[in-house]
């Protein structure tokens, strides 16, 4: 009989308790993995978006709490395009807004992200047109809608949607690698600006590519970033409050990513604490119930270290089972969540393998931490006391 077989028998002799422990732990772990997975997906999607488009620097208004509040004069773009080291064909502006959308005139309003791009924006190249066509120069009151919006609103090519109570014709539906874009309405920049009178002539920000040398690409990016930050207002001569971040920094500092990550970790910490307590409870009960047996094991010569190992390995096995079930549950949960129109434009189904690995790591840690006290308690039992327990 292998040692691990001995341990498995300890677990399987009380199948209901083992199953309930695994179930309880897997709920905690599953929640943790699902939240961390969602936050990881959001971060990865944003990062992938920039990476695929070869973006080096993201420029926005400095000092704003979130990206949607950023407001820059679109004329600034021309000045930036002339800066030494900037690829003049690689500057792309966008106006991203949260606006009201109605599927029919007078219907209930919902919020949707609109993305306003000039017709030449290279972002269009990443949109896979599913039906219809992309918006183009000269279009008036025409939009493309992401696949999620199309599904949620049950709209297609030729249909009309209302943005800020104004009608727009859907000329195309698209699928993007970005979950945000799939949940967005894409339109020409100037039409997007007209949705909000306060945003006329303004943009949320712009991304740009840097002409980099092979020898020191990072230094080239840093140099361009500094030149952007040194830009002065042409009228007042004062510094313009800008935020110019590399894409990595942008993703790291993006407020929605940060908030999501913070919330995910907060809930995860709660889940971890619940998991530790659950494991502690189960293992302490298990040890107390087996006081006599542990005494027998000590009597026949098992050293304390083997008793500790027995309890810890039991906990690790329980944890691994919980992590496996929790991971499957988390994958299922994210999939189910994407079926809800309220969230399916914001999250992506599936969990990255790295997050599942992290989840396994945390769960094993939970198991070990929760089992340390019971294991030590078991090891400290004197054989005679344990046998007298009879």
């Amino acid at each position: 009989m292998y040692f691990v077989s001995f341990i498995l028998k300890n677990l399987t002799r009380r199948p209901i308790r083992t199953a309930l422990t695994v179930l309880g732990l897997s709920v905690a772990v599953g929640s943790m993995i699902a939240l961390l997975g969602i936050s990881h997906n959001v971060e990865a999607t944003v990062a992938e978006g920039f990476e695929r488009r070869g973006v080096d620097i993201v420029v926005m208004q400095g000092g704003v709490a979130d990206q949607l509040s950023s407001e820059l004069d679109e004329k600034l773009v021309e000045r930036v395009a002339r800066i030494e080291g900037v690829d003049p064909h690689g500057v792309d502006v966008a106006l991203i807004q949260l606006v009201e959308i109605q599927s029919n005139k007078g219907a209930d309003s919902k919020n949707v992200i609109t993305i306003g791009w000039p017709a030449s924006n290279f972002g269009f190249d990443d949109l896979e047109v599913r039906t219809g066509r992309r918006v183009q120069e000269g279009d008036v009151r025409k939009v493309m809608i992401g696949s999620t919006v199309a599904t949620n609103l049950k709209k297609g090519v030729g249909d009309t949607i209302w943005l800020q109570t104004e009608p727009f014709e859907v000329v195309g539906t698209f699928e993007s690698f970005s979950v945000f874009e799939n949940g967005a309405v894409v339109m020409l920049l100037h039409e997007s600006q007209e949705l909000n009178p306060l945003r006329k002539g303004s943009i949320t920000g712009f991304s740009l590519r840097v002409k980099k040398s092979l020898e020191h690409p990072d230094a080239d990016v840093d140099a361009v970033r500094q030149r952007i930050l040194d830009l002065k207002d042409e009228k007042t001569g004062k510094a313009i409050r800008l935020s110019a971040q590399t894409t990595k920094e942008y993703v790291k500092n993006a407020s929605h990513v940060q908030i999501l990550k913070a919330m995910s970790w907060m809930v995860s910490v709660i889940a971890i604490v619940i998991g530790v307590i659950s494991m502690l409870d189960t293992m302490i009960m298990s040890v107390l119930e087996r006081t006599q047996e542990i005494g027998i094991l000590r009597a026949v010569g098992w050293p304390r270290s083997r008793v500790v190992k027995m309890v810890l390995v039991e906990a690790v096995i329980l944890s691994m089972a919980a992590a496996a079930i929790g991971s499957l549950g988390a994958i299922g949960l994210t999939y189910v969540l994407t079926l809800f129109p309220q969230v399916n434009g914001f999250i992506e189904s599936g969990i990255a393998p790295i997050v599942i690995l992290q989840g396994f790591g945390f769960t094993v840690l939970i198991g070990i931490v929760g089992a340390v006290y019971p294991a030590v308690r078991a090891a400290l039992l004197l054989p005679t006391e344990a046998i007298r327990h009879d």
Binding site: A299, V300, G301, W302, P303, T384, I387
Partner: protein, 235 residues
Amino acid sequence: MTDGRPEDYLLFAEKLVKTYPDGDVHALNGVSLGVKPAEYVAITGPSGCGKSTLLNLLGALDRPDQGEVYFRGEPLSKRADIDHFRARQIGFIFQSFFLLPSLTARENVQVPMYEGPVRSVKERVKKADELLDLVGMLKRANHRPMKLSVGERQRVAIARALANDPALLLADEPTGNLDSANAVHVMDLLTSFQKSRNLALLIVTHSPEIAEMANRIVKMKDGQVVDNRVNSLPG
């Protein structure tokens, strides 16, 4: 028989004192005792006289408050590997058998082997089967304790006690829970192993018949040895 030096005995207890924290009464009060290799010693006395306490101290399951236990002349209190010593040198047999309920007979016999000389899983199974065969339990090897009669359980417990080929068997009322037929069977097994394997056998018993089978009979009362005599007509 406590004359001589500790080196002269397999197991030697010197002036053992043990007091339990829940009372002022000495469970053992200056007990000395020697057991020679391959000797069969019976310890008798009324309930509460300290027999089981003495057995626990001799088997290194507990430590004396005063005094010393020597094994082959070496004091146990100086040993750092007391668990290893217990696993390799001593086999325990208890009145309540103390088999692990989730394991089969074959698996129960293997439990001490994790700390014994037999290493591979295959060897452990082979050894367990040999021992079960010796106690007539091979056919019941795959049964859990709940499916075995009390006599069968004690036979499995004997096989477990022999798992690491110990030099000393300590049995605490091994027939206490058995009917007379099973008690005779178990005692036959123990005495035959004691002889065939040159084991020292120390039995705590209330039974005069079992005590009379021993080479030496030690009588205890109130935590002290009151008689320690060679049995001239064992069996």
